[in-house]
Structure formats: C-alpha cells, structure tokens
Symmetry: C2
DNA sequence: CTGTTAATGAGGCACGTGCCTCAAAGCAAG
DNA sequence: CTTGCTTTGAGGCACGTGCCTCATTAACAG
C-alpha cells in the first residue's frame, strides 16, 4: 500500500473529480441518501477504492456538531469491583472529551428486570446515543435491549453477558476464565490430593455457570487427584456466607484449594481470613480491587483472574461509538483479556 | 462536576466573552503567542477554569490541516515477535487514520548505534512528528534521542528501555516480568528440588539483566530447593545455542525448569524440542507469537510472560501524539501489563 | 413532440479553531 | 504635546464535511 503524503489526502472534492460527479452527488452516496442511480453509486464506490478516499470523521463531526452521550447502566448494589468500574468511567470522561463523547452512570436495580426495562424504554435517541448495560440476563431485559436498539439507541451488554448479543458485547469469556482459574489452581496445588471449595454469589447467573463449567472441566481433565466441591452460594449475605463456609470447612478437612468465583471477593475472603485457615491452601479469586490487590501482595491470595476495568470501559465506549457511526469495530483491540495476576505483576 | 449539555459546550467565542476579551486575545493565550499582558493571560486562564472550556482538538486539527506522521524504528533482525509488532502497526494504521495519524516502519540495525544516531539526526520536524525507537541502550543512541527531541521531534523508547527516559517510554517493567516468570516457575514446579536453566540471547542488554534480576530474586527468596543456573547466551546463533543447551542438559541432570528469557523464543524452544527433553520439565518463555501460542496449546510450554503487542503499538502512538500536542498522557491506560498466558487464556 | 419525474450539479452556509492583516487603543518617554 | 512601542480588537479566510436550496439536465411515458 502506497501512502499518500498527508497534504495530499483525498477529500470529497477529489473524490468527486475522480468519480466524474459533483460534490453533491458524492455527498448523497456517502451519506446514503436516495435519489441516486445505482450506476452512479457504484462509480463513486469504485473511485473511493481507486484513490483511497477515507472520510475525515473529525470534519464530519464538526459539521454535524455531533456529540455522543453514552450511559452506563450499572447495578446499584456492589462493592469494590463496581467502584473500580465507576472510577474508570470517570477517567474515560476526560480521555474521550476530545472525541465529543460524554459518559454518565445510571444506577439500576439489577434484580428488578421490570425497572430496568422501564428505564431502557425511557431512553430517547435525541438525548442518548448509546447505553452499556450491566445486568443479569432475563427475558425482559433481553427484549428491552432489542427494543431500545430498534429505536435507534445503541445498546451493549457490559460485563454480564446476554445470549442474544452473540458477538456484540463487552466482557470476557467466562468459561475460559473459569478454566484458567482451574488450571492455575491445579498447577499451584501440584501433586497433593484433596478437595477444592468453590464460593459463588449465586449460581443463577449465566456468568457463574460458565465459570463453574470451565473450572470443573480443567480440574477433571487435568487433575484426577483433586475434586471440586459443589458451589457454595452466598447470595451476597455475609452471615449466610460465614455459616456455609465454616460448615464446608468442617465437613471437608482435606481442602487444598479455594476458588472464589464471585466478582466481589472481599466479603468471602474476609470470612476465610477470620476462620484462620492454613496459608498453604491455594486461594484464587476474581477481579483486581484494592482489597484483592492487598491480599495478593500479603501472600494471602495466590492468584487473581481479572479483567481490566479500564479496558472494559474504554472498549464499551469505542464500540458504542462504532455502533452509532455504523462502522465495524476492530477485533484485536476490543478483545478483553483474561488476566492472571500474581503479586509480581499486579 | 456538572456536565454541560453537548450543544452548550463552550467555544473560544464563549471563552472570550467570559474573560472579557476578544477572540483574538483568546487565541493568543491558548496558543502561547507573545505580546499579551500577564494580567490578561491570567484572566483568560481563570475564565477557562470557570466555564470549563476545553479546546476542540478536532476542529483545531482541521484548521491546521494537522496530521501526525510517526515512525517506528525497529530492528532489522528479529523473528516472530517483531512480526507481531509490525502487524499491529499495520492494524493501527487504519485505526488511527481518523485521527489523521500515519505510521511507518523504518528498519534499523540495532547493533550499530552509529547508524541509528545518523538516522535519528536525519529526521526533520516538518516531515516526521515523532519516532518510537526499539534499540538497546547505548550512550550514542541516548544522546541521539535527546538531540532529536530538541529539534522538536517527539522521541519515545519502545519496548527496549533507555535509562534517561525515566517514565517516558513504552514497555513493561522487565524486573517485574522476570520476577513473574520466577514466581510462576517456582509455584508450578512445587516441592521438587532441582536446577533451572535460563536461556538468553545476550546478557549485554539492560532488558535481559533486569529480567534475570527479578527472576533470581523470586527463586532465591521463595524457593530454596531450586537453583537457577547461569544464563546461557545464544547470541541469536542457532548452532551455538544447540551446543550450549545440550551441554548444560548433560551437566545438570536435575533440571526441573527452563526459562527462555529472550523475546524471540522460537529457536531455543525448537532446539529443546529436538533434544527431546521430558515433558515434566516446566518451561516458561516470553511473548506471544504463533509459535509460542501453538506450543502452549500443545502443552509443550507451561506458561508465557507477555506484553500485548497491539497495546504497545497503540500506547506508543497515543503517547507520541500526546507529546506533540503537549498534553499529559493518562496513566492507567498507558501502563503496559505483564500478562501471564496459559493455554486457557491465550 | 411535450410534459413529468428522476437524477445531478452549482453554490452557499455552518461547525470551532488557527492564523493572518490592519486598525485602534493604551501607555511611557521625550 | 508628539512619537514610538505594546497590547488588544475586529474581521476574514481556511480546513473537510454535512446539509440545504435551486437550477439544470437526462430519461421516459404519453
């Protein structure tokens, strides 16, 4: 590919000349207005290829006075991981200001699908260009997302997956994340046989199910001497968590590993600390937060499976913008990595 | 912070009104032209704060017909890791086209500091806005970087660090990367005592020294039963590599782990494969390439310490642009992560 | 042929900023 | 006071694109 000198970058004027039409017609083709013969459309497209025309989006945005207002619909409840996300949205605000992008957070009750649907249906194209939604999958929410999209507002599942949105969502492959936790757990434990405790907030959500699936698969296939216990569900209730964790420890004296599957790991990890379990038990949790970071450095935690909150936020914004601009987004950058964090690469 | 409605975003005109001056004076202040009283400058700056003015960079670039031409000065020699970098630069080309950024690759002979210095001194501000340099640190290169910066061309050490550039470079903390390799190695080996082979391309470069330092520290502090052998230097010579690796294997029958420290791991790993070593020996290498990715999936490699080449490239471009625009760059996004890759999160 | 409609061209203003010129005002020294 | 210098204002054109109006031409049916 021969690169043109910056100065000579073709404009719509050049394109018009190359296609043998007027700038008005070029405009009609580029912005998909009708009233242009198919012949002409093709001629212009060929000219675009021929001279390597690329629309100057900055000038276009300037002309349109276009700006993008995006909303992050996040759960009202949540602990440090949620705070990290919100912090990154704040950061992104100034980062994307030069692209005329404004972001706001709207808190939703993630366990009330009806209110989420109501909120989504209140969004108007003229006010909001797009919305990133972090909420567990339910039929109501799924339908609401589809409807808001039909009204011209870009909608993007965020961190929590939604089946319908096949490829178009922002987050990690939770099956692979669970598998990574399983593999790391198995390798760290080594030859020692025993049981692994698995702590989840709830096994209702798709994310949890997928993590568990991946985790079990790795343990079963690669580490025959280990057995993963049934998931303990805390329902985000600290008392309940304390009770069932203690009971499980008593019932399974051969525990050699603990996998905290929930995104908010502080509460379960604190309980484990209170219960004063042996440091030799391999502990793996999810997400980097001030608490988990500290535990990792203090060697109270052996590893962390994480997704970068800043990357999640920025990727969501870029993809929402791409949806609004009707561009395809670029794969490699928007792939959210499953990070493994040890105390040395925190 | 109260966000203004997109429509009402203040322009230089609003700023002029708010500061009680003309647009011409605002322009003089914003673009740091002289001939403005100190009083007036301060008044304008206060007004900027007061109304939350932020320059519309897109419009500014449009007005200036500004475009940015960046050059990646990369080694001529190199294998798959270098190819990955070049591939990402290609990707970035289209990604940043909308920001009027053009990138090109220029191959340098990384072992000839003089020719690098000559090349850098040939760069002209009017042709090239910035250059990312991947070359080992030498006094000549260091000085050349400083000189090219003084001539108004942004210069940024890339992947290979340069002492002078304290914070302003793009790449990972190699000490931490080595430490991560060490910790992972130790944890994966478990209780088994033995020796660890360390293979490097050369211990002349600062990057290698730092990795080795971090690796040794983790092994020595955390795993007393392991001993890391002296570094084997291949000098990128396959025959030499084959000889010294085979000799080391014979001399140390208790080898339980192998750490390939070089960025280009294909050649050493292929040699190990030919030598048919036991699969139980834990092998850790650097950088994700088609080859290492394949080996990881085939379970011939236990773990990979990597830096995302796409992220490296994009971060370099953003930072170069930030330097040209005289903006400060944003920390959290520009921090290059030390990734740990297993076959589950590849 | 004429009349009608579809397709295209010509031209201009707008967006927010940079950069230029020229005039006007302020200010200090003589 | 005048002279000369510094500081400020007023205005306009440019960048590339979107979007509008109005005129003109091509295509086609009757």
């Amino acid at each position: 590919m021969i690169l043109l000198e910056p100065m000579l970058r073709p404009t719509t004027k050049d394109l018009a000349k190359a296609a043998g039409v007027s700038r008005a017609t070029v405009d009609r083709v580029l912005n998909e207005r009708d009233g242009v013969k198919q012949d002409t459309v093709e001629r212009v497209h060929k000219a675009i290829e021929a001279i390597g025309f690329e629309r100057n989006i900055q000038a276009a945005n300037l002309a349109k006075s276009q700006s993008y207002r995006f909303i992050f619909a996040l759960p009202r409840s949540g602990d440090q991981f949620l705070q990290e996300i919100i912090k990154r949205i704040d950061e992104a605000r100034s980062l994307f200001a030069s692209d005329q992008i404004w972001c706001d957070v709207h808190q939703i009750d993630e366990n009330d699908p009806h209110s989420i649907a109501t909120y989504l249906s209140s969004l108007d194209k003229s006010q909001v260009a797009g919305v990133a939604i972090m909420a567990p999958e339910t039929p109501q929410v799924r339908d609401a997302i589809r409807r808001v999209q039909e009204r011209g507002v870009a909608a993007l599942p965020f961190i929590s997956n939604q089946t319908t949105m096949d490829a178009n969502w922002v987050g990690i492959d939770n099956r692979a994340a669970g598998a990574t936790a399983g593999l790391l757990m198995g390798q760290f434990i080594g030859q020692k046989p025993g049981a692994i405790m698995v702590i989840a907030e709830s096994m209702q959500s798709r994310d949890s199910l997928e993590r568990r699936l991946g985790f079990d698969q790795e343990i079963n296939e690669g580490f025959a001497q280990l057995r993963a216990l049934p998931s303990l569900e805390t329902y985000a209730n600290e008392d309940r968590a304390r009770t069932i964790i203690a009971a499980s420890l008593r019932a399974n004296p051969d525990i050699v590993g603990i996998y905290v599957m929930a995104s908010e790991a502080r509460s379960p990890l604190s309980i484990l600390k209170d219960l004063n379990i042996a440091q030799s038990i391999v502990k793996i949790a999810h997400e980097r937060t001030p608490f988990t970071e500290h535990e990792l450095k203090a060697k109270m935690l052996h590893g962390l499976i994480a997704q970068d909150p800043g990357h999640l936020v920025r990727s969501a914004i870029r993809r929402l913008k791409g949806m609004v601009d009707r561009r395809q987004t670029f794969g490699s950058q928007e792939q959210i990595r499953i990070e493994i964090l040890l105390r040395t690469n925190i």
